[in-house]
Symmetry: C3
Subunit: 131 residues, 3 copies
């Protein structure tokens, strides 16, 4: 397992981690297989979506905030139940295909660390399995 | 990695790809392991759910459209931010268990390609890892 | 593949299965790799989230019920379309990293079986791949 850390700049954000993903695969020296990316946090998540127009990320975050508002009817006393719910729905991990030593992503896809309760220092864990 | 393509017939739909999944596993000749199915698109997704009553798929798509409407308050100019959000929440990949050369699914489960911004020509990527 | 069963006590609930996960890994004797946990049901799911304050699970389930109510406008005649939709959004499987014979989870993370249409007897399937 490989561990990397990152610092998120605001309460909510989608941070492109493609460069980190490529670096981890290159260092492992694996040509073909699977890469599991895992977030060891309960108010963050990992997803894959469009990298071209930043308005897409803005629309994703603003609509999630609309259907899962950070409002006071929740019971959990830390005031971040909205972040836990977004984490469950987005998911704590993704599994990517590796071919020719590169992560296989579609033309418009990037891997994003989703911060729902920052700013914080966060970790991302990686496991590579050769095919 | 194995690549297959499919053409989706309408803007939204859940297309059963069980036959494709079985075919990919049979061609690989792997008896036991994992199969990762990955969609290289940002307005589509992969899920597993009920195959018996088509009303379940109808209810899933109509309720997603209710909580994530294709409305004009989004910033992304292509008018398909709803599809990007559904893609994030449903997820770009699933990982299945292979045993005795067959995908292991529950009695009522099938694998579905979820189209949220069709009709389009789409790809599905598969990676098999032997146990 | 390893199969385990559990009985869920109510219509909705998040059941901590950490002990089961550790047991399956120990019995397999694998030190490093991946564990895929798969739910062969269409009205249940697997997730990873906070184990410390039970109010977090309460907030997750109550907010999901708010945005996906069990109401009569659905077409599927069994009256559990809400459970199918929650299953799609939460997801039928998670993949964990195994290191030193242990599931790698963050400080506040546990693995939860999510019941959305119980009480029922349910199964959980596990596949381990060595790194």
């Amino acid at each position: 397992m490989v561990r990397r850390s990152l610092t998120t700049p605001s309460r909510e954000g989608m941070i492109n981690i493609d460069a980190l993903v490529r670096e981890v695969i290159t260092e492992a020296g694996i040509k073909d297989g699977l890469l599991t990316i895992f977030v060891p946090h309960t108010t963050a998540a990992i997803t894959i979506n469009e990298n071209a127009d930043p308005d897409v990320q803005r629309d994703i975050l603003s609509h999630l905030a609309k259907i899962i508002p950070q409002n006071p009817h929740f019971h959990h006393s830390e005031g971040n139940s909205d972040a836990h719910i977004k984490s469950v729905l987005t998911g704590p991990s993704v599994t990517l295909i590796i071919e020719n030593g590169k992560p296989q992503l579609g033309t418009w896809q990037s891997v994003f660390f989703c911060e729902f309760d920052g700013p914080r220092k966060r970790e991302i864990w990686f496991q590579i399995i050769a095919a």
